[in-house]
Structures are given as C-alpha cells and as structure tokens.
C-alpha cells in the first residue's frame, strides 16, 4: 500500500482536484484505491457525491479500532472508495495532541488498510499544523501542487525549509505546477525555468481549465465526463509520471 498526500500550505492551488482525478485514474487501472478527504470543507466528498459526515467525528477515527474502516464509503467508480470529510476535522490537531505519539498516529491508523488498498490518497487541508506534520510523516510521497507565481514558490520554499528543520526527508516531496495559465508571462517563465528543489519539479503540469471548475457541476472526476479535455489529459500524464518516476523511488 502506498500513501500519497496532496499538500500545500496555501489554499486554492488544486490539491483536491489533483486527488480526485489522480485517484480516479489509479482506480481505473485496477488498483484498489482509497481517498481520505481530510479537509473539513469536504470538497473531495462533494465531488464524489458523498455526505461529509463521519460517525463519531475525527476523534473516534483516531482512537477507536476499526472506526476508520467502518466510515469508508464506496464511490460510483470501480475500485475507488472514500473516507469522507467531517466538520470536526477542524479540531484534528487537538485530537492528535491527545495521543502519545501524535506525529505517527495517522500512519498507524492507516496501516491496517494495507490488505484492502493498493493506494491511499490524502487530500489535506491548507495550513501548517500538527495535522500537516502528521500527514508528512504518514505519506510515502507528498505531491505539492504549486501555482507558478512568486508567492506560491515562496510558500514551497517555506515548506521545504520546514521539512528540513523537522527532520522530514524532503526527498519525498514532489512539487508539480498546477493551474498553469499559459496566457500569463510569469506562468510561462516559471514553468520553463523551474526553481531547484531537492526533488526536481515534475515535468507534467496541470493547465488552468474550465473543465476542472465543471467538476463541481458534474460532481465527478474529469475522466468520467471530459476524458479527452486538456485537463484530463494533463492529469493522465501526471499520473503516468508519478508511477514511473516517483513510485519507483519509494519502497
């Protein structure tokens, strides 16, 4: 089982869209896939038409045996399940603090799913907190969707620094450009001359596309309603690159 987190300190960079579409592509290839919508806003749950509600809330998931498994819902797609969001996730930091080893807790509760899933995707809430730290520890790889702007690159730099300081190996962090608007000079310039990072920024990038916004109308991943659009194709290329370049690096 591989745990892939989509994370960025900044909000609105395409974390949820990435998880929803990459997990869909992964499941379509026959891998047993789970998405955990960890963002209390519940956007991934909304896209999959699943109520953002978990019995007993986030606290129960962290302490009760089998609570995680019991809360999982099947999506409309083969091989793809969802652990829905819950509004109580806004207090996940507090719940984690109640545990002995808070940073290791998420990985520990996810490991029993190893026999059921090949891939677990974590859709994380923005911010930098104990929950974020716990996610960085739990994930085998962390995808960092980054908009090609100065401010977003600054945030990426902050994240890399944070990982270095907290002994989280930045070799597991894989940034990629998201919401790229080729009409903008700055976007074009940054994509063609990406900054140096411990792991080079992935080659595939996701365009700023209306199809992605339409996911909210269709409440479904791109592959199910616009499989031949530029955004769906970009996610397909990104997924192939993740498999070829990234997954081979983690044991």
């Amino acid at each position: 089982m591989r745990i892939i987190a989509s994370y960025n300190i900044k909000g609105g960079v395409g974390k949820t869209a990435s998880v929803v579409n990459l997990a869909y592509l992964c499941a379509q290839e026959g891998y047993k896939t789970l998405v955990w919508d960890m963002d209390p806003q519940g956007a991934a749950s909304f896209y999959y038409r699943i109520k953002p509600k978990v019995k007993g809330g986030g606290r129960r998931l962290l302490i009760k045996k089998h609570a995680l498994e019991d809360a999982i819902k099947g999506t409309d797609f083969d091989n793809l399940d969802l652990l829905p969001a819950d509004f109580s996730y806004r207090n996940l930091d507090l719940f984690l603090e109640d545990n002995k080893k808070p940073r290791q807790r998420l990985r520990k509760i996810l490991l029993p799913l190893v026999t059921q899933y090949d891939f677990v995707f974590l859709d994380c809430a923005p911010s930098i907190s104990l929950t974020s730290e716990s996610i960085l520890y739990a994930a085998d790889i962390v995808l960092v969707p980054t908009i090609p702007t100065t401010l977003s690159l600054r945030t990426l730099h902050q994240l890399l620094k944070f990982c270095e300081k907290n002994d989280i190996t930045s070799m597991r962090l894989f940034p990629f450009f998201s919401m790229v608007d080729k009409r903008k000079d700055m976007h074009r310039m940054i994509v063609s001359n990406p900054p140096k990072t411990p792991e080079p920024i992935l080659n595939s990038w996701i365009p700023y596309a209306s199809d992605v916004e339409k996911m909210g109308i269709h409440r479904a991943p791109l592959g199910s309603f616009a499989p031949n659009g530029p955004a769906a194709k970009a996610y397909q290329a990104l997924w192939q690159e993740i498999k070829a370049r990234v997954l081979s690096k983690v044991s």
Binding site: G30, Y48, I50, A71, G74, D78, N79, D81, Q116
Partner: protein, 531 residues
C-alpha cells in the same frame, strides 16, 4: 469497492421485465446500460482457479480478448486484463494484477476452455437524493453452448444485488423486498457449476493426488489395488494432455503417478505374487525411461528464464541458441513419447496392468502381507524407510561424497511417496506437517542433485552446439558463466544440508514420526490378526 454480492434465481415462469418493473415501482432506479456477451470460461486442467473460489471469463471484441477474474457467486470483475495475443499461460498476459495473480495460481499450468456461456445483462442503479449510486442491481439471462449440438440452450435467469460500501440500509431494503415481496430464492450454486452440471460434468473432477480413502483394517491387497487403480486413472487422465503438449504438468503428473506405482509395488512386499509383478515392473521401468527425456527438457525450459537472469544483461541474448536447441529437443522428445503412447506395446501394458489390478483378491490370500490390515503394513514400511533416511542422513558429514546425498535423496523420495499414498490412513492434519518437513529436506537434496546434473548436461549441450556450429564465442562465454554460476549454487546448496537435516531429525519431528508411524508390537498384531 463492493462488499459481498447476493444472487437470486428467477424462476423460468417469471420474466425479467416483470421483476425489473416491480423493483422500479418500489425504488428509485435508473437504467444504466445493457450488454450481450459471449463468455468463455477458462481454467487449468486441475481446476486451480475454481479451487480459489473464482472463475476466469474471456469475452472477445474483434481481435481483443478481455479477461476477467471474478469471485464465484458474483459477476463482478475483480481483476482484469486485455490482450490481442494468445492466452495459454499467465505469462502471455500483459503486465497487470491479473497476470500476477494468475502466475501465482496457475504457475506453469495452461488455461483451457471449459465451457461457453451467452449472457444478456441489464444494469439498474439505485440512487440517493444526491444522485449517488448506493446499490447496483444486475439482471442476468444465461444460455449455455452445448458442444454436441453446437447450439445455445436457456440455462438460468438471475438477479444480483451489488452493495456499495457504507450504504447498508439500501442493501437491506432491497434484499427484504426481493425475499419478502418478490419471493425469489437465493442462488445456491455459482453459474459455472450450474452450467457444468447441465453438461453432465463436475468441476474439480481431477486431482493428481487422487481421492482414495482407505480404512485402517482393509486387507492390504485390496487397499493397495485401489490406490494403484487410482494412480492408473491419473496416468490415463494425463495422456491426452501429453499428446497435445498442452503444458508440462501433464507429463509431470503422469510420471509421478507412475513412480508412486512403481514405488508401492517394489516396497510393499508379499501383497502380490512376485511372478505376476515381474513383467509389469519391467514394463513400468521401460515407461519410466521413455518418459524421462521429455521431462528433462521440460525442466530445462522451465528453468530457462532463471538461467537468463543468472547472466549479466549484455550476455542474456546470447543464451538464445541454447533455448533454440532445447525447443528442438523438446519437439523430438514429445514426438517420440507420442509414438510410445500410441504403440501396441503400451496398449498391451495397459490391458495387462488393468487385468492385474482387477484380479480376484482370493487368489492372493496366501501371501504373508495380503490379508493383513493395511494400516499395520503401511506403518511398518513407512517406519522402516524413515529410520533408513535418518541413518543415511546422520552418516553424512561435510566431506561426504555427492553419491551419499543422492542415496538419501532416493530414500526420502520413497518415504514421501509412501506417506502420500497412505495419507488417508493418518489424517491430513497429522501427516501434513511431517510431509512439509520432509519436503524441506527433499528440496535441498533435489536442488543439490539437479544443479549437479544441470551443470553436466549444459556442458554436453555446449559440446553438441559446437558440433552443430551454433556456439558463437559470446554464447560459449554465456554458457560457461552459467555453468560456473550453477556450480556455485550447488556448493551453496550443499552448505545448507546440515541445517535442513537438523530440522528434519529434530527431537520434535522424530516424536511426531514415532507417534504416527511406529508399528505396534508384532506379537500384538499377530494376536489381532488371529482373533
């Protein structure tokens, strides 16, 4: 991901349209799609997929075949692969989870067509207020191809409910309605079994080990005759597969049944008159030797991918002339074998052996072991061979010659055949751990011996290729390296012997062997016979 599906059988008198209308009247259902498929069900000769409670189904669309692994009692495809090539073996499939799974399940066995079904399927989804699917309903209408008439006949109509994880309430509602209102009975068998039964067949009707159950007090002659009859059946069942060269296991199973037969006849003395056995044993020795060349080549071909891996990447391609030589040899060996199996000598042997096995027991009653209870005869023999194995093993030192290990290997083989032939007398649960322990030792001895033979034979092949001018300097280098690697492996295997034998001869294992096989005192036994 779906939880366990539930299937119901729709009586012939009820139409699918009527069932569908009743469901739609009660629940919010959306018609999804419908499909019409011709399905070929595949499995190995020994039903390895069926034994995993699954089925492999193939549908063909133009030149592309789609393979689906489904669990029995569900039509849901769990693993899937697509190919435009042949699908004889797991390795013919493109890289996929299905190929990985089939490789584990089938190993070297080929997939064979078992039957053909035609199915019309309609899919209905139950949606909630967010238009999210919370349950799937599938209506199936099956027809079966009857090979004798080459025509499809109606088989069964089924309704399947496929729950969606986390939506138990919907599942229960629909389940209650189908059972309570529609009064449909749950399907008791998988459609594959229903179809096979309609053709007068049973799944898993072949086992290389046989299913003969012996009673402890059966007279030895009758008991051994029934075991041997079963071995004869196994041999007969594999003949066609050998003639068609479907996969290497046909010949392997055939030879194991033959060797078990030879071993039983040779080791259990005074059950059959020696004069009746002499000619049969000669014929069986002949069969053993004429089947050997084909099996040897099969083994080399099975090992060939491993040979390639032993070499550095740049030399691997230069081993291809060896593969070509092996394939040529295989064709010749199987051709010769087919001639043997179709010969008059073989037919005569079969008749003679059949008559021998079916001769009246009374004629043999005067022999010492003939009337004894089979359990005590088996105990005595297994215990004796086990003690011999221990004695031979204990005598082996680090500097003992290869011949000593070879002798022990032969003794262990005899012990294994005896334990497997008579396993029903001791119960699978009790005998299995001991067979496993013995197998561990056999694997080590077998590998050591095989590596020795392989190194020698590869040297012969290299000389043969040189004579045929098929040995380029690169191929010569590849084969020399391969032979050296095999010799190193042999030395490693030799070093593991002490540990393996220590485990086999441990106090705990000895205790288990003693408890299971040590014969009761002879006097008591004679008393028992007399009474």
């Amino acid at each position: 991901m779906s939880a366990v599906c539930t299937e119901f059988t729709i009586p012939a008198s009820q139409s699918l349209a009527k069932v569908s209308a009743a469901l739609k009247q009660k629940f919010t259902l959306v018609d999804q799609s419908s499909e019409h498929l011709d399905i070929q069900c595949l499995d190995s000769f020994d039903w390895r997929v069926y034994r995993k409670k699954a089925s492999i189904e193939v549908t063909t669309h133009g030149k592309v075949s789609q393979l689906c692994w489904r669990k029995q009692r569900s039509s849901q495809c769990l693993y899937y692969a697509e190919t435009s090539g042949k699908i004889d073996f797991a390795w013919d499939l493109p890289a996929s989870r299905l190929r990985d799974l089939l490789s584990r399940v089938l190993s070297v066995r080929a997939l064979l067509p078992q039957l053909e079904l035609r199915v019309r399927r309609r899919y209905l989804n139950k949606l909630n207020k967010d238009k999210k699917t919370v349950l799937r309903i599938v209506l199936h209408e099956y027809e079966l191809l009857h090979p004798a008439t080459a025509s499809y006949k109606k088989l069964q109509k089924r309704l399947e409910i496929v729950p969606v994880k986390g939506y138990v309430k919907s599942y229960k509602q629909v389940l209650d309605f189908i059972e309570g209102e529609l009064c449909l009975p749950k399907s008791e068998e998988d459609i594959l079994i229903i179809a096979l039964n309609a053709l007068g067949r049973q799944p898993a009707d072949y086992s290389s080990k046989g299913k003969c159950v012996l009673q402890a007090n059966m007279p030895a002659t009758a008991a051994i005759a029934s075991l041997l009859k079963q071995m004869l059946q196994v041999m007969a069942a594999n003949e066609q597969g050998i003639l068609e060269d479907i996969d290497s296991e046909f010949l392997h199973d055939y030879r194991i049944a033959l060797r078990k037969t030879r071993s039983a006849l040779k080791q259990i003395k005074d059950v059959f008159p020696q004069r009746e056995l002499e000619d049969l044993q000669l014929q069986m020795n002949w069969l053993g030797s004429v089947t050997s060349p084909a099996r040897d080549i099969d083994v080399y071909l099975l090992k060939f991918p491993g040979y390639r891996q032993m070499l550095p990447a740049e030399l691997q391609q230069h081993l291809e002339p060896l593969q070509a030589l092996l394939l040529r040899k295989k064709r010749t060996a199987y051709k010769n074998l087919a001639t043997v199996l179709k010969s008059k000598r073989y037919a005569d042997f079969q008749n003679q052996y059949w008559e021998f096995l079916h001769a009246p027991v009374a004629q043999r009653a005067e022999l010492v072991n003939a009337g004894r209870a089979i359990k005590s005869v088996a105990d005595e023999r297994i215990w004796k061979v086990y003690k011999r194995a221990l004695k031979e093993g204990n005598a082996i030192q680090d500097d003992s010659p290869a011949e000593d290990l070879h002798e022990l290997r032969k003794t262990c083989k005899k012990l294994r055949y005896l334990m497997e032939l008579f396993q029903s007398l001791y119960g699978i649960k009790a005998i299995k751990p001991l067979v496993k322990e013995l197998k561990g030792l056999q694997d080590n001895l077998g590998e050591y011996n095989d590596l020795h033979v392989q190194a020698e034979t590869l040297k012969e092949f290299a000389m043969e290729m040189e004579k045929q001018s098929a040995l380029s300097p690169e191929t010569q280098q590849a084969m020399s390296l391969l032979i050296r690697h095999i010799e190193e492996l042999q030395a490693e295997e030799r070093a593991h012997f002490a540990n393996r034998f220590e485990s086999f001869s441990s106090k705990e294992v000895k205790h288990k062997f003693r408890r299971l096989f040590k014969p009761v005192k002879v006097n008591n036994e004679l008393d028992a016979c007399a009474s």
